[in-house]
């Protein structure tokens, strides 16, 4: 029994071609969820198999890869995915946002503004923004086709009626190129403005749900809201305890059992840069 030899970036070329075709279609129809024949990967569904397949399909030997989870390069799943590509593709990796040509991410968009030479790959658990309002795929597909997004607005309105504000804090729905409402993956709504008019190509891969979608560079992405309740992002009362930044997303660190709290940047590369470390 010989251990199988792996192709560059694990997937065989046939599979990569299939995924690239789906990506091209996704770029051609911004925000539309393209079904693709997602494969079983050697990491579990729900742990980034969609992002990994998209990255594997666009990766070339000359690329420099950055992988983050919760904004950090050192979180265990980011480490695991980075190691996977070092092992199967032997590509260069980096923790510096501007050095990377491909960034695979879970739950965050880096604080630094991305460039035209970069691709941001999102790991997506549930690609369908309407899923929790309508569980059936046959129905939600129709709703997208007819641009029938009333239920989503009703949901946001009900939030306002109950809580006085929209109570969706992450995976906040947005409209791409004035057509498709899409799920930006569970990034905090803090990151939604970065989706808009972004110079980098943004690709979204949902492995278990077998969907790929995309936001081409410089595409309009508008977070859903109401005239009298405009979209707004999270704010903190204090700056990052490490770098002093006032305009980055902060993680809360519990420092003791007497209510001690510390707020630090979730984007570790950004924070190190602010401190002049890297």
């Amino acid at each position: 029994m010989n251990p199988p030899a792996y192709n560059f970036a694990y997937l065989n070329e046939q599979t990569k071609r299939m995924i690239r075709r789906a990506i091209l279609k996704a770029i051609a129809i911004p925000g539309y969820q393209v079904p693709f024949a997602s494969r079983e990967m050697p990491m579990p569904y729900g742990w980034g198999t969609g992002g990994v397949q998209v990255t594997a399909a666009v990766l070339t030997p000359d690329d420099t890869l950055k992988v983050i989870d919760q904004g950090a390069d050192d979180t265990t799943n980011a480490v695991s995915i980075r190691k996977f590509f070092i092992k199967t593709a032997a590509v260069k990796t980096t923790e510096r946002t501007e050095e990377a040509s491909i960034i695979q991410t879970r739950h965050r968009i880096p604080e630094a503004r991305l460039t035209e030479n970069q691709i941001l790959v999102f790991q997506v658990p549930i690609p369908e923004p309407l899923r929790f309002l309508e569980p059936r795929e046959t129905e939600t597909r129709k709703m997208h086709a007819l641009e029938e997004y009333g239920v989503m607005h009703v949901k946001l309105y009900e939030d306002i009626a109950h809580y006085g504000q929209i109570a969706t804090t992450y995976a906040y729905p947005a409209k791409v190129a004035d057509r498709y409402v899409f799920d930006p993956s569970p990034i905090p709504k803090f990151d939604n403005p970065k989706l808009d008019n972004c110079p980098a190509l943004q690709l979204f891969g949902a492995g278990r749900e077998k969907r790929i979608y995309a936001i081409p560079p410089y595409t309009r992405v508008k977070s859903l809201d109401f005239e009298d309740h405009p979209f707004e992002i999270q704010t903190w009362d204090q700056p990052c305890a490490l770098c002093g930044s006032r305009d980055s997303f902060l993680d809360e660190i519990v420092t003791d059992d007497r209510g001690g709290r510390l707020f630090v940047c979730s984007d570790t590369d950004f924070c190190a840069r602010q401190r002049g470390e890297a």
């Binding site: 579990p44 198999t49 265990t76 190691k83 739950h107 992450y170 569970p186 979730s266």
Partner: protein, 361 residues
């Protein structure tokens, strides 16, 4: 001053080493061999081949050993290995009528042409723990039947079919789909439904099948025939243009006879449910056949009221590799999303406190 926790990489390496040690267990106990797993844990191997969707006893045995006996983990290993395999093409449909039968029973007729053959089954054993197995005592040799080559074993459902008592197998002559090559779209055909069920989790299908027996989408089933044995796999290489037998595999097939149905055009007939799986897997194929029949509700003009009749519900949740991955992904960090919820919740609570204060004034 606070320093962010580092060391994910070392932690993973250390965890993997510990896992390897735990998997091996007490080193003074001999390690289990792949041959032992393949030969003595045959039904576990069968299940891993089935739900892993790859007929390879050696790889399945390796996966079971590596997974410390966790069969869903073993299935996952096989699925991931399967991704990397090149595809040469599709075999011809198996002809189970020509099966070298090892076991074959029908609950619909007392006697059938070719006979009832009990074969290796737990069915009539008393479930008493067998102290003889504590030591390595060898079982007595099994009796062998006088060879009766050429005994025809027509399928029981075909016997009913001759009289028109059961519907013709449904389906069309189109090439069957393959959900490992194309994403599953709803509504789907019976070909893809059966493929999904064949790969589906045995426990999930068992529970769904059971639910139909308890009234959630009742189908009045009879086990028309269950057969276990060896069938030939034939393949037509493009350059040859004629079929070549490329191997033999053991499969279990279950054909259910279900409640009859008639219409203005067709007199009443029994209907079918079908199950097929690698190796010996009666529980799985019987469950599959019951669920297959339930999922035909739409085609047969029955009202869809029960979970087992709901195609999107059943097919979207049957795959245990998908299910376990997504359930267990909750172990991954969700700091950012949780932080977002915290920020909102604190704000809502502050607003509420302020409102209460104002009301009190």
């Amino acid at each position: 001053m606070y320093v962010a926790v580092k060391g994910g990489e070392q932690a993973i390496d250390a965890a993997h080493r510990l896992l390897a040690e735990e998997r091996r267990g007490d080193p003074t106990v001999p390690a289990v061999t792949l041959a032992q797993i393949a030969e003595q844990l045959t039904l576990a191997v069968d299940r891993v081949m089935n739900e892993g969707s790859l007929y390879d006893r050696d790889l399945a045995a390796l996966a079971i050993k590596q997974a410390r006996g966790d069969l869903i983990e073993a299935i996952f290993l096989i699925r991931a290995a399967r991704t990397t395999l090149a595809r040469f093409g599709y075999a011809l449909p198996l002809e189970t009528r020509d099966m070298q039968v090892k076991r074959r029973v029908s609950a619909a007729f007392k006697d059938i042409p070719g006979g009832q053959i009990l074969g290796p089954t737990f069915d009539y054993t008393h479930r008493l723990l067998d102290a003889a197995l504590v030591d390595d005592s060898e079982p007595e040799a099994a009796w062998t039947a006088p060879a009766s080559p050429g005994t025809a074993m027509p399928r029981v459902l075909d016997l009913l079919g001759h009289e028109g008592l059961i519907e013709k197998p449904s389906g069309d002559d189109c090439e069957p789909g393959d959900l490992t090559q194309d994403p599953l779209n709803f509504p789907t055909g019976r070909d893809l439904r059966l493929q999904n069920l064949a790969r589906g989790d045995e426990g999930f299908l068992l529970a769904l099948a059971y639910s139909t027996q308890r009234g959630y989408g009742r189908t009045h089933p009879f086990a028309g025939e269950i057969r276990l044995g060896v069938v030939e796999v034939c393949f037509v290489p493009e350059e040859l243009g004629f079929p070549v037998a490329i191997g033999e595999i053991t499969v279990t097939e279950c054909e259910m006879i279900n409640q009859f149905k008639g219409s203005a055009d067709v007199p009443p007939q029994f209907t079918r449910g079908y199950g097929l799986g690698f190796g010996q897997c009666e529980r799985k194929t019987m469950s599959m056949a019951l669920v297959d029949r339930s999922l035909r509700a739409g085609e047969l003009g029955e009202e869809r009221v029960a979970p087992a009749q709901d195609e999107e519900f059943v097919l979207s949740h049957s795959d245990n590799v998908q299910a376990t991955g997504f359930v267990e992904h909750l172990k991954l960090p969700h700091y950012v999303d949780f932080q977002s919820e915290l920020v909102l919740l604190r704000r809502l609570r502050a607003n509420a406190a302020k409102a209460r204060l104002e009301a009190a004034e």
